[in-house]
């Protein structure tokens, strides 16, 4: 535990230096208290995030649309009303560029929704729920094109850089949201997670993020990638903040028939809970021989922390884990090939000159989509085509059943499962671009939970020798967010009592 102690002392020291003057570094709960006690104004808080974006973002490239004027006028209005009725009232946030926001350009970082930019005529349910709490949208964050990627390198706005090492990726696809939160460009951010797109970038950038149970949050108004797997969720600076955001955005939405009417638990009530007596499962299937040694070491240390806190560990088996990645890369492209059909240059976005309609479709789609989107549309079209449907798509759906059953059996014996978040810390920009399969393998630990529809959270658990964050993944059964958040909060309090470490940028 010596490594942890040194890091904690170092970061506590650093936090005490920066925490007092830069209010953009605050968590939601800290900012809420200061707003309520009149120590800061909402305008000051919003301005400090804006200043931070202006200063830092030329290096990081996390923010691709700035909504500053409207944000500042909302902030002034909230100050004048002086009613901080919700912990999110007056809190500036960023959302991934797939969340529709009325009168704001939403492009999914794809050329097919640019020139002219698609300016959304309505807002996503999540955007509306945050607005109802008084949260202030200050802009949009970078993502892989239509969220297809694990590094934010497929964005038409260029790559987002890891705030800990600007030669490395921030992860993806919610790389912009993760980099923005960890470099304090906003108090929190929204992302989407289809196969790890919240958790992996949160891990690479050193913030925390949660993929919720499929059906817990509404997907309405968020551009779809793979509809049976897409989930909406938060990235934040503390587990407590994740609880606050989830309380605001979870629950049944009539506009998304896949949301559940199961009651939303009081997430904040878990914050005083302990992991004492909880059973934590560990599966060899998540510790393959080729796992990075530093990652292995830090995850093993994290497991020791849970034991110290009174949890019991138990070995479990998830035998179909190795088939999750191939099943995912059939199911996802199949759903993509159908979802991407709507981008035809008729109702929104990019346009081209053409002599007839069919040529128009070809020209718009060929010019508008990037290579990864084309790859996935083609794989999906192939997998769904006559003669291959049963061998690929149907077989992948059957394997999905086995993966789901693996987890169901495991959660009969344990309360939570922990694993590494990613096989390595953040990788170098460009290192995987010529090899799509190598890029897909980055998601190897984050895909099984997505196929099973269960929740999972990513939280930093240490640093590599190169000073890159290494993250722990905590998974729970369907609707098991409270126990995941409880364990993650206890872990955070123990390992990072002064708050999550910040990059020096």
């Amino acid at each position: 535990m010596d490594n942890y102690s040194i890091i904690i002392i170092y970061y506590n020291f650093k936090f005490s230096l920066t925490g007092s003057r830069m209010i953009n570094t605050l968590t939601i709960s800290q900012a809420h208290n200061k707003l309520k006690n009149k120590e800061i104004s909402c305008e000051e808080l919003t301005k400090s995030c804006i200043e931070r974006i202006e200063k830092t973002d030329p290096l990081v490239n996390a923010v691709i649309y700035k909504n500053f004027n409207s944000a500042l006028s909302k902030a002034k209005k909230i100050d004048s009303e002086n009613n901080f009725y919700n912990p999110l009232t007056g809190i500036p946030y960023l959302s991934k560029d797939v969340f529709c926001e009325e009168d704001v350009p939403t492009t999914a970082c794809s050329n097919i929704l640019r020139n002219p930019d698609y300016v959304t005529p309505f807002s996503s349910t999540t955007t509306k729920r945050l607005e109802a709490c008084g949260a202030i949208s200050i802009g949009k964050t970078n993502t892989d094109e239509f969220t297809m990627g694990s590094s934010t390198e497929t964005s038409c706005y260029g790559v987002t850089k890891c705030p800990w090492d600007l030669t490395r990726v921030a992860g993806g696809s919610s790389g912009g949201s993760a980099a923005a939160v960890s470099s304090d460009e906003s108090i929190f951010a929204l992302g989407t997670d289809t196969g790890g797109s919240i958790r992996q970038p949160a891990g690479f950038c050193g913030c925390t993020g949660i993929r919720v149970t499929y059906g817990r949050t509404s997907r309405f108004g968020v551009m779809s990638m793979a509809s049976s797997l897409d989930t909406i969720g938060p990235l934040a600076k503390s587990v407590e903040d994740l609880c606050i955001i989830l309380s605001a955005i979870s629950g049944k939405d009539e506009l998304d028939a896949t949301t559940s009417d199961l009651e939303v638990p009081d997430y904040q009530s878990i914050l005083n809970g302990s992991v004492k007596g909880m059973t934590i499962g560990i599966s060899k299937d998540y510790f393959p021989a080729e796992l990075d040694n530093e990652v292995r070491e830090h995850i093993e240390n994290a497991i020791k922390v849970f034991k110290k806190l009174g949890a019991i560990t138990k070995e479990i088996s998830l035998p179909h884990t190795k088939y999750a990645l191939p099943a995912y890369y059939i199911i996802v492209p199949s759903e993509i090939s159908s979802n991407m059909a709507r981008y035809d240059g008729i109702r929104f976005g990019h346009t081209e000159k053409a002599k007839d309609l069919i040529e128009y479709y070809f020209s718009v789609r060929s010019a508008g989509f990037g290579d990864e989107v084309k790859r996935r549309i083609m794989i999906g079209t192939f997998a769904l085509s006559a003669g291959y449907y049963d061998a690929y798509y149907r077989q992948a759906q059957r394997v999905r059943t086995l993966i789901k059953q693996d987890f169901e059996k495991a959660f009969e014996k344990v309360d939570l499962i922990v694993s590494p978040m990613s096989p390595t810390p953040a990788f170098k920009i460009g290192s995987h671009t010529d090899d799509p399969v190598a890029m897909y393998l980055e998601d190897i630990f984050s895909i099984p939970q997505a196929l099973a529809g269960i929740p999972a959270l990513s939280i930093p658990c240490g640093f590599s020798k190169e000073n890159l964050p290494i993250a722990l993944q905590i998974m729970g059964p369907q609707w098991g967010e409270p126990q995941i958040l409880k364990a993650a909060n206890a872990f955070e309090k123990e390992v990072w009592p002064g708050g999550l470490p910040k990059p020096n940028i």
Binding site: P121, K322, Y323, I330, S366, R375, M378, R398
Partner: protein
């Protein structure tokens, strides 16, 4: 499974995507390597299990069959089109030349 350049041209046509010869070569290689990776699925005996199409456990979500106002006006929805519109209809090129 390895795909041929002819397969790629056919799939691209179905996908409404034009490919240059250089792109055909590139995607032939890349898509073949992706299919090689997913071919692992064939090892699994799935004879006894049903396919999972959705994982919520929800069944038959009904709503009243009522006409409701949309979230945005017709005008505003039409304005997002890059093409011209008349009488609430988007003008596209003719289907055949």
């Amino acid at each position: 499974m390895a795909l041929t350049p002819a397969d790629i041209r056919h799939i691209a046509k179905l996908s409404r995507i034009n490919l240059s010869e250089k792109e055909v070569a590139k995607f032939t290689k890349e898509l073949s390597s992706i299919l090689e990776c997913v071919d692992k699925l064939k090892e699994v005996d799935t004879r006894k299990c049903k396919p999972t199409k959705q994982i919520t456990g929800l069944k038959q979500i009904f709503r009243k069959d009522e006409v409701k106002r949309g979230l945005a006006d017709v005008e505003k929805l039409l304005e997002t089109s890059p093409l011209k519109f008349t009488e609430n209809q988007i003008e596209t090129q003719a289907a055949h030349g």
